[in-house]
Symmetry: C2
Subunit: 485 residues, 2 copies
Amino acid sequence: MTNPLIRQPALFQDRVEAIHDTALRVLEELGVRVLNTEARKVLADAGADVSEDTMMVRFDRELVSRALHTAPQMFEVHGGSDGCSIKVGGNNLVFGPVGGPAFVSDLDRGKRTGTLEELRILIKLAQSFDVIHLLSQSVEPQDVDLNVRHLQTTLSQLTLSDKVPFVYSRGSGQVHDCFEMIRIARDLSHEEFRARAWCHTVINTNSPRQLDVPMCQGIMDFARAGQMVIVTPFTLSGAMAPVTIPGALTLQHAEALAGITLDQVVRPGAPVVYGSFTSNVDMRSGSPAFGTPEFVKGAFGAGELARHIGLPWRGSAATASNAPDEQAVYETLMSAWGGVLGGINIMKHAAGWLEGGLTASKEKFILDVEMLQILAEVLHPLDASDAELGFDAIAATEPGGHFFAAQHTMERYRSAFYSPLLSDWRNFGEWSNDGAKTAVKRANEIWKSTLAVFEAPALCPGTEEALFEFVERRSTEGGSLPLDE
Amino acid sequence: MTNPLIRQPALFQDRVEAIHDTALRVLEELGVRVLNTEARKVLADAGADVSEDTMMVRFDRELVSRALHTAPQMFEVHGGSDGCSIKVGGNNLVFGPVGGPAFVSDLDRGKRTGTLEELRILIKLAQSFDVIHLLSQSVEPQDVDLNVRHLQTTLSQLTLSDKVPFVYSRGSGQVHDCFEMIRIARDLSHEEFRARAWCHTVINTNSPRQLDVPMCQGIMDFARAGQMVIVTPFTLSGAMAPVTIPGALTLQHAEALAGITLDQVVRPGAPVVYGSFTSNVDMRSGSPAFGTPEFVKGAFGAGELARHIGLPWRGSAATASNAPDEQAVYETLMSAWGGVLGGINIMKHAAGWLEGGLTASKEKFILDVEMLQILAEVLHPLDASDAELGFDAIAATEPGGHFFAAQHTMERYRSAFYSPLLSDWRNFGEWSNDGAKTAVKRANEIWKSTLAVFEAPALCPGTEEALFEFVERRSTEGGSLPLDE
């Protein structure tokens, strides 16, 4: 999908260069604390000023500049079938579902702890809608032991979907297991796997100015394997970042540049994405807020900063609402428009995210898919050739008449307009007689009917068996525990 | 309020001139049926080609061009106090509430026929929020006789609000009564009233290509009095307009130009606005739809057509949903973003509209006010001076620390972020313990608490008495019946 809209510049004229420069000063003069020993060594070898005592790493602007020079502006990440590969960068735009929540909810059973079965349901929903282009770990399956959880989540992604999978950076052991499973699923040699990108991870900094052990390890593991890294600082304005949006963007920019630099030092040219998550908190309670005016303006600014350094940009569609209600919808849609107008390349959390990311909601998933489908259709340019302007149809229709039966209409009506998934356009009487269901109640029916007809995409013969075998063997061997922070 | 965003061009490159030209061909070669005898005469005198047999009026492009030359690009409409005047055109943006519905609804009593008491409640809500800049007849008070309804609706607007009032074009008798009441309320001489704009009306064409008797009369009455006319063709693509959005825009443009030309022929320089309402219908049922991708693209196109002719542009924020639910929110917000990005100057129906305009919902009103306030805040540029970037605050905050107590934060936190009207950012536990109220339920509480503290703005001494006296006298005289179509 490509985005033809004009990009909205940040709403602070001519200060993008100043933010970039201040972020470089943060990296040069203040530095970032890097908790991973190997990462500090790699950066020191590349010329960074490293203190082993304080674990502080100072990046001079030459080093950052070299990294930005080698980082690709655009690249492809390959799925399990041709139609599932995604282009990242330029005018390209992809949507991904909610990632990371501990809880899952639906109208039938309310909010509860995530399980593997619930994760599988969310993967099936992501697979079912074309407007979702890549996967996330859409809920944390807490009924699966930590040492084998990565095996089960990756197995579910690879057997239920052919879209680009997500891999958590929770230590090299887990990451290499997941890489191996993807290699098996896609039927690749080790070299073929490393030659192109087949999966992605998200690296969150511990804002302010800190990169922890597994995050650094993830950057290095993914870079070495040539897989996509999204570096996303967690810069909540007023909490982990300055209380002004330009200040939060400055810190975000510095931290993203630190992660991107580590990635490019490890393997120049590895696919890496500039991520942003800047929003604000409620200054009375400290609670994070999303879809606020500050979030939208932060998105415009992040998009411009990403263009300034020539990298693809990842943002989010998010909400703080506790229910899949009207607030959830307007906050999510405000965020989404901020992203689309800012020129977003990867919109994460764009379906199913609720409660500041703590919960994956199935009804919210459907509400969001409808909104994403509408947005995607907005981005589809119109044919305005003479025939479409319809002068002859206008001439043939009497004043005060109608166009229902016009030839111009008959030739086009089947595909003229977007056909909604969820919206109900019937009149009040028909809608009332059918139970007066609000959109969230219809969404509840839609996720169920979607699951009822779900069919997993076909894998090559023998692949599923090979995956199961790998998971069984690695489980017997004890799997791999996540790396401590 | 001004809108600093970059305008999204119509998504059909280089075809704006072609649409303008085709619309001129529609006016020149096909014409518009004008049902009002006086309007035909006025147009014939101005050089239009008029057939009294068919009532068809053909406008040559010279005539249209003269009208566009005299129509002002920007003007002011005055309210009852300085802060209530609105600027129309250029980068200015104003929001108005729902207009025209027959029904009203709230969660307590459901959907029912509009009454004067309900209209008064909606006027109070419009008056209570600064983000609403002008009034509409937000519900039709069907408990008031037709001959005096205009007197009572205008009395309610003028005594409960100092924002710019709305007057229906239902015949000269009613219109002149309303003008007189506004003149009394604003304490103006007849000349002062006519010298500046103090109210507005909306003229809907009977698409395709027809202007009815009261609509023509309204254009002429308002133009003569120097009051604001918004010419809004009712071009639903696939029903009263071609099934393509560029085709619907072509018809919209032709009809709007016809109304604007009549306005400017009557009084060159009178304040007139290019209105659009182009959306699509559900081709299975014929039901109108709003907030669709087609609606958004129609808005981009309408905005560009308005800029092409140099006139202010009026659009809408609309939904077809039957309830103030998630669908109502995403359709309304899609429409609103379409307008804001298209460079809208007057956004009508932006608060409280439901069910394709058949119902005014009080909860929807509050939901919409929250969305409008967020949008308004998005349009507020950011300060990105060095102090705001916060290098010193970043330097003073330890890696992994927080900014809650930073001096930079303490100096700014009170006014740093938008404070919501409706959004609930508490955590799930607090929200659940407080009744787990979804946004629409909180909206129900907010409209009630808003009404509980409502105070009408003060009128000059004696003004209220003079208004009541006028209404009583005109009622005794029999008022004025609406003009037949």
